[in-house]
Amino acid sequence: MKGFGRAFADELRAVRGDRGALLVLVGAVLIYALFYPLPYLPEVLKEVPAVVVDADHSALSRQLVRMLDTHELIAVRHEVPTLAEAEALVRAGRAGGILAIPLDFERTIRRGGSATVGVYTDAAYFLVYRQALTGFAEAIGTLSAGIEIRRLEATGLSPAQARARRDPVPLLMRPLFNPAEGYASYIVPSVLVLILQQTLLIGIGLLAGTASERREETALASPLAGTLGRAAFYLSLYAIHTLLYFGAVVRLFGFPNYGRPATLAAFALPFLLAVIFLGLAASHLFHRRETAIQALLFTSLPAVFLAGFSWPPEAVPAWLHRVALLLPSTPGMAGFLRLDQMGATLSEVRGEWMTLWVLAIAYFLLAWLVAAHPRTARPGGPESRASEAAPGQ
């Protein structure tokens, strides 16, 4: 395997000698990992500003406002006399929700009746809407349940009987994994996997485009040994990156990490191989140094929403989901998320693991084929470099 060692060393030299490639294959991997989590670092959106319209001004209405304000998701910021003024505050983006307490609120309840409070929430931003609605519902529900239980106890029931009578079938929510519903924990671990894929594809494509521009000979002495040697170089480099991400970055930000090192490594192997061979196979499509950066940038956002963690795959058209499986990131993000954030075993991600092996083998064969048929040098200067083909997904 003389060609293997030479290809490994050549690739190392090419990357070391190219600032652009180093920026992508080393710099971007580090920078993005520290930069991308930034907006989500607070994890949970709390203290959504709320506005109160209290027409009752009674002890009970003030108690409700206090309970709302002490709820961690809500901060009562304004009190205005009319609903119109309250809505204007929401419209101006200064409040996320309104609580409207009617006149005779306390009197109605004292008499054993039922009073209706109005809750108006801003659905222009989904997270604000969800947090505000949860906060309102919990604060109001707590006060209402307390009053109801006191009423039932007054009829002679024991506290336990009163609770059972009030809600015979209580629903207990037991969140598994990410119980606080942290936003960074939800998004960033998967995006890290995508960063590994995109930087690898861009780095390999950038070097191939540069070689093509310089019309360097891309033929390898031995296509098989050469392809394996180049892949071995990228595998070594990205094994370090993967270790860094799953060993250090995930812990640095305090994301859930239940994955066992051996299991993660066993899953990372086919993922990295699939990405590397895809990069090598696609490298013939890039005839310019910058084309890979441009083309891959277009795929990042669709790849995130096709991966299934932010948008359920059941809601994606079946044909599109199947096409998306050709991207190593689709099974890769799903598998890593379940291994590291949900503590799954390797056998519990066997579907994704097998898909990645199939992709790795298929892209390896393609890369080998491409290496065995080096592109023909094209004549002419910049003006006649006209065979820019569409890069593959």
Binding site: L38, P39, P168, P175, A334
Partner: protein, 392 residues
């Protein structure tokens, strides 16, 4: 054949370059259409439905079977698995085959008959936020209906004492009103943010390619000469065609969002049109600055990727800007997308007064005015100094 140098000649020259190099067809037409199409297809179905859940029925009575049927009949959930124990259910969740495990306890029906509480437990995958919140909402509805249902009263013998029945009236009822986006459609909400995110990518990449390739190919002197040596004319002539192209694409995007995808229009349509055109110019201004100051097509493209790739995360659509750390808020303000989406949400959904949108509109205008002014001299220098040409 020598044309009179100026903007018109520069536009002609740019048209010839774009026609000769397929990369422009790719960046201006093919990739944008594919990316728009794929995003549209992803969210085509709107709200996710029939998400698979597992059920562990430890009671096996008429009432427990009724609850299982009710869960299956809910729009969000489909009972895909009936499991024998919790271990099996939790494994299904870890395997990604079920989003939740609903456990109905032993003696469910009997406890209710006796007037005791019989809790239903829902283990769910909170790592996947969206399915988790949809399932929680629907399951609360289903179990709440059952809990309040006539079926239970019948089971409990119907003989509720009058005093208890009176007291059972819910003391405080919550009447829910949704302000703005009342249908809560994910399709219109997410696409209204994602399509502009992609548009920013298209514009920025194309502007950097158009300008940066002059330096890389060493044709910058010819470009300036075609414009009669005036940098502002050279810039205008160079970007005129792509500006028109992306303005039309932006307007088409707005038309699709409002006419095809049912985005509500509560406020000023004029402000949205104006913001769209300013947005195109603002992103091009960022492209001008990147090429002028980095003077390297590859490096400027990398920087464009860094700016526009994670821009959605910083835009405040998923996680509000006000709740971000200061560093993220600052970065967010430096991206045109943030300001554009703010106008979009305020005008389309909230129907905010124009004064609310004047700040983000002014921010977009600031990009358009300040960045080219700050970059023109530098651009002239790198375009005339051969040392800045052909840099990789």
């Amino acid at each position: 054949m020598s044309e009179r140098p100026g903007i018109r000649a520069t536009v002609r020259r740019e048209y010839r370059r774009m026609a000769a190099e397929p990369i422009y067809a790719l960046l201006l037409v093919i990739l944008p259409l594919v990316a728009f199409g794929v995003l549209w297809a992803i969210f085509w179905q709107g709200v996710p439905r029939e998400l698979p859940v597992a059920v562990l029925d430890r009671d096996h009575t008429a009432l427990s079977r009724q609850l299982v049927r009710m869960i299956d009949a809910s729009p969000t959930m489909r009972v895909a698995f009936t499991v024998a124990d919790e271990t099996e259910g939790e494994r299904l969740i870890r395997e990604g085959r079920a989003y939740a495990l609903v456990t109905i306890p032993v003696d469910f029906e009997r406890a209710i008959r006796r007037g005791e509480a019989a809790p239903v437990i829902c283990h769910h995958n909170a790592q996947l936020l969206l399915p988790a919140s949809l399932i929680r909402r629907d399951l609360r509805g289903v179990v709440g209906t059952l809990s309040a249902g006539a079926e239970l009263k019948r089971l409990q013998g119907g003989g509720t004492p009058r005093g208890v029945a009176m007291a059972r009236i819910e003391p405080i009822r919550m009447e829910r009103h949704t302000l703005f986006n009342p249908e809560l459609s994910y399709l219109s909400y997410l696409l209204a943010a994602l399509l502009p995110t992609m548009l920013q990518v298209f514009i920025l990449v194309a502007a950097v390619q158009a300008l940066g390739s002059e330096l890389k190919d060493g044709t910058a002197a010819d470009w300036l000469a075609t414009a009669g040596g005036r940098t502002w004319k050279a810039l205008t002539g160079k970007l005129l065609l792509t500006t028109v192209h992306f303005s039309l694409m932006g307007l088409a995007m707005v038309a699709v969002l409002f006419r095809e995808l049912g985005l509500p229009l509560a406020g000023s349509f004029g402000a949205i049109i104006g913001a769209t055109l300013l947005f195109v110019l603002a992103v091009e201004a960022v492209g001008i600055a990147l090429v002028a100051w980095l003077a390297n097509l590859r490096f400027a493209t990398s920087a464009a990727a860094f700016l526009s790739g994670p821009a959605f995360a910083f835009s405040g659509i998923t996680f509000p800007v006000a709740a971000m750390p200061l560093a993220a808020q600052t970065w967010s303000a430096l991206i045109p997308l943030t300001h554009y989406l703010r106008v979009m949400v305020d005008q389309a959904m909230r129907g905010a007064p124009l004064a609310v949108s004047s700040l983000p509109l002014a921010a977009l205008a600031a990009f358009v005015l300040l960045l080219p002014v700050a970059s023109l001299g530098r651009l002239r220098r790198v375009a005339t100094d051969e040392r800045f040409w052909g840099r990789l």
